[in-house]
Symmetry: C2
């Protein structure tokens, strides 16, 4: 039988109200009494009823994390970074997979509100007006990770995806490549990855190179998209390099090129994006844009906990640094 | 302002107690009244206060998932399978990363109990007596996934790891290999992967092949363990195949062999274990033992929800089927 607040009061020789004041950190209790209560709590192994307390304080010390899909290699690192920080501050996380389905996202937002989570880390593509309205009406603190809403209403953590893609494409240009293909999301899609197509085009423009739609393939971000994309592209035109909007695409592209008898990087250089775990295990090891996923999760969580506790944010939008890391899928 | 239970009662023209009875599915309300209440709930968009209800029913419709590390490629699929099933039954999941630290595991178990989770999906290595005692004293339903306790106290879902390893090693033997190395967990470690070493030895014995400790390397389950392990082994002896206790090990082994100028599978055949996502993207694609990770998560969650709702389990221990899948890291 677990110890109750009554047992603690009896053991410490104080009233239940006093124990409650100590538990809730109300400052009117003198140090000596506080110590007595804390000792009694320790001795009896008493644990306050968190659910009852949630009801009273409307706080659950739980944070919701809404992500597209934990089994996509991109998200586990972000979640791990977020959970490590939440753990330091004694919060737990509730994980919700949405598959980017707006209805599922809205349902989860409502459920998280009902379960009185203190805030939400939100990763999505769409952020439709209906979702933004819902978040506002639920009055839950929200931090967007790897996502921004167009009006910049919500605090967010991202990298500069356009600049990352520009740097990556420029890297390929400086390696002497003249015909650089693209496989990835179309710019019309509303997500972080779509900015990468803009960065790709900006790099070509900056270096007075012609943009050729024939060597671009618009798709999802999976290995299979890369595999199919490169098969389409090589049918139509010659290329000497490909900028891929994700590492998984790059892996699919490399597998496709191998089947076509083309060597990477000797015949075609391939650039990835994200630096997922397997990017440095894959053969050849991917040259790619490092997106600090763990940090995105941990910075996002720290921002959210600050907001929950009424602290001032130094910055409303964090743009974390990216970096092109050289490995073996490009010549140098 | 959200609708309250009072508003619903008023709208439906019934008492608050009646609304409460409908919400709690108590059968004394007649159908017509029930319908009126349900219509009022729908019209007003009323959502019951789940936290208050948790306190009353001691149920939170939340399930804890304790895993070593979500950023390890093995776990996201399991978690996804578990969450998909929990979602169907209107449960949410609380995710806890322990890094296999028993203190962290025990702390999470206590916190999950405080937060009144209805049950726990538990993945671990150790299951020390202290942890088993704690779980029993907390009186929370627990299902072990990819883990069993030695006394088989708790319901569990696993594959037959020993048989999986035996099948895999036999596959290498039937391909004509005479000197088959091993990289993976030592049999003294108390986890699922340790059974794989036993299966490896059993296969050698079955085929009257000598066991040679010189071509075994005991390590963790990461790519780097494979890389270092194979470097050690080739220094000491010649091999024509390696059985690896995980796919990540197999990838590290292949990268190490490549550096040593050995071709896979022409010079050395390499067998993995698990069939993680990147196993079929890696070059060469891994021949490996498929462990149905998504199914392990979903079967485990289904068992847990049954237990929570007082249903009889058909089976206390589920052993899911495994399969050796042929790809390109073995000759045939």
């Amino acid at each position: 039988m677990a110890a109750s607040i009554k047992d603690v009061a009896k053991e410490a020789g104080v009233s239940i109200a006093t124990v409650s004041r100590v538990l809730n950190d109300v400052d009117v209790v003198n140090e000596e009494t506080k110590k007595k209560v804390q000792e009694a709590i320790k001795k009896l192994g008493y644990r306050p009823n968190i659910v009852a307390r949630s009801l009273k304080t409307q706080k659950s010390r739980t944070i919701g994390i809404i992500i597209p899909d934990i089994s996509n290699q991109f998200y586990p690192e972000i979640v791990r970074g977020a959970e490590d920080v939440s753990n330091i501050y004694n919060y737990n996380i509730m994980l919700c997979n949405t598959d980017l389905d707006p209805d599922k996202e809205m349902e989860y937002l409502r459920v998280l509100k009902e379960k009185m989570v203190d805030g939400v880390i939100y990763m999505s593509n769409s952020l439709e007006p209906a979702i933004i309205d819902l978040v506002k009406s639920l009055e839950m603190p929200v931090v967007l990770v790897e996502t921004t809403d167009r009006a910049n209403t919500f605090p967010s953590v991202t990298i500069d995806n356009e600049k990352g893609a520009l740097d990556a494409t420029e890297f390929l240009i400086k390696n002497g490549n003249k015909r650089i293909g693209y496989v990835g999301t179309h710019e019309d899609v509303v997500n972080a990855a779509a900015y990468r197509f803009q960065g790709y085009k900006a790099a070509l423009e900056k270096h007075n190179m012609e943009f050729d739609k024939n060597i671009c393939y618009f798709s999802g971000l999976k290995a299979n998209d890369g595999y199919e994309g490169i098969k389409e592209i090589v049918k139509k035109a010659d290329i000497d390099a490909v900028f891929c909007a994700s590492d998984e695409i790059a892996m699919g592209v490399i597998n496709g090129l191998r089947e076509e008898g083309k060597r990477v990087p000797e015949d075609v250089e391939v650039m990835g994006f994200n630096d997922i775990y397997s990017a440095s295990i894959f053969y050849p090891k991917l040259t790619t844009v490092v997106q600090p996923m763990y940090d995105m999760g941990s910075v996002g969580m720290r921002m959210l906990i600050k907001i929950i506790n009424g602290a001032e944010l130094v910055q409303h939008h964090f743009v974390l640094p990216h970096e092109v890391v050289k490995r073996d899928s490009c010549k140098k």
